[in-house]
Amino acid sequence: MVVKVYGTVRSACVQRVLACLLEKEVDFDVVHVDLEAGEQKRPEFLVLQPFGQVPAIEDGYLKLYESRAIIKYYAAKYADHGPNLLGSSLEERALVDQWLEVEAHNFNDLVYTLVLQLVILPRMGKPGDLALAHSCEQKLETVLDVYEQRLSKSSYLAGETFSLADLSHLPGIRYLMNEAKMGNLVTERKNVNAWWEDISNRPAWKKLMQLAGH
């Protein structure tokens, strides 16, 4: 059975899910949701995701939303197929969880706000709040300094193997470097840069980039 992923291939949170499915070689169908037309706020979609956000998935009887919960599920369901994205021991799994939470709570909001103010609002013909964007940029510098330290001690965020914690950062960093043109935040940090080069060259991510037309 093919997993149905509701959303668009350009949405960062949808990309988080698709990257995981590609790593695990799980077949999927993207069911397009027209975000610009506000399709995600219509009653038919709210049945799938009551907060009116993408992605949502349908896999047989299972319906799920929240991209990080979805990737945890598939990483566990297919633990024996493809790369182990969860960590092997209880301690490794705890570190994967820790850095996934860091991405969700310390990294994501800053990147999202930056991209919203610098890219999305202007695209819609509205002015972005440059002061807010600048403040986010400064906070992001501090956060990435922590990553720089961490990655001087281990090849990936949770240890010596690529995991969901690293995967979860891929869409946000891509937006930061490309549309928001803040690649310097990554390239000026030796270890963060090396890590980004590594994770963004994974075949699954490159396949997704083709699918998304980036």
Binding site: P50, L62, R68, K72, A76, Q98, V102, A104, V146
Partner: protein
């Protein structure tokens, strides 16, 4: 014994969530206070434990972990009491719990914290609440609780028909909210109201509240 420690404070919702989880699993712990007012969490030695300078940090058997939801997840898998687990070993069932854990973090907590900041923390510091922010946060939280109302009409608890860590994560902020006029958001939604009363009555949460009372005495 096992030397479990939580570095944090009884005013921090994230610290209280971890304590609730420890008590649900009947685990002993030592609370090592971190003085947030003095900025202790932004300096060494604390930042060598959590480089993001946030409480809590949890130590068990010499291993340190930060991010409360990660701590709670791994603790629940490691110490799940047979038959009384707060997680599921079945991947599909746990996926739904994980979904609602993220809903708490992404949808519920942000407007809840905004409201608590205006209605509880600012008054404590002698500042007046900003009514514009209050109205906006109440509207946002109201929308979220509409979703919860629909969910809880079909399911006894958020993640399943039994209490799980997805429900537990709501405890500190719900406790704060029911002490303010924002409690109307909860009381006007019958399923949310019933769920809220149920989970706030958990003995493990009572133990956390007792700890807070003793510290203030």
């Amino acid at each position: 014994m096992a030397g479990r420690k939580v570095y944090g404070t009884l005013n921090s919702p994230a610290t209280l969530k971890v304590l609730a989880c420890l008590f649900e699993h009947d685990l002993d712990v030592e609370l090592v206070p971190v003085n947030l007012d003095a900025g202790e969490h932004k300096k060494k030695p604390f930042v060598s434990m959590n480089p993001f300078g946030q409480v809590p940090v949890y130590e068990d058997g010499g291993i340190k972990q930060f991010e409360s939801r990660a701590i709670i997840r791994s603790m629940s898998f490691e110490y799940g009491k047979k038959g009384e687990e707060l997680i599921f070993w079945d991947d599909r069932k746990q996926a739904v719990v994980a979904n609602w854990i993220d809903v708490e973090g992404h949808q519920f907590e942000p407007p809840a914290l905004k409201l608590i900041n205006e209605m509880v923390i600012k008054p404590k510091n002698g500042l007046a609440p900003d009514q514009g922010v209050v109205a906006e946060a109440e509207a946002e939280l109201g929308n979220v609780l509409d979703v919860y109302e629909a969910r809880l009409a079909k399911s006894k608890y958020l993640g399943s028909d039994r209490y799980t860590i997805a429900d537990m994560l709501h405890l500190p902020n719900l406790q704060s909210l029911v002490g303010t006029t924002a409690k109307k958001l909860i009381e006007s939604r019958p399923h949310v109201k019933a769920w809220c009363s149920q989970i706030l009555a958990r003995p493990a949460w009572g133990k956390v509240l007792e700890m807070k009372r003793k510290a203030q005495a």
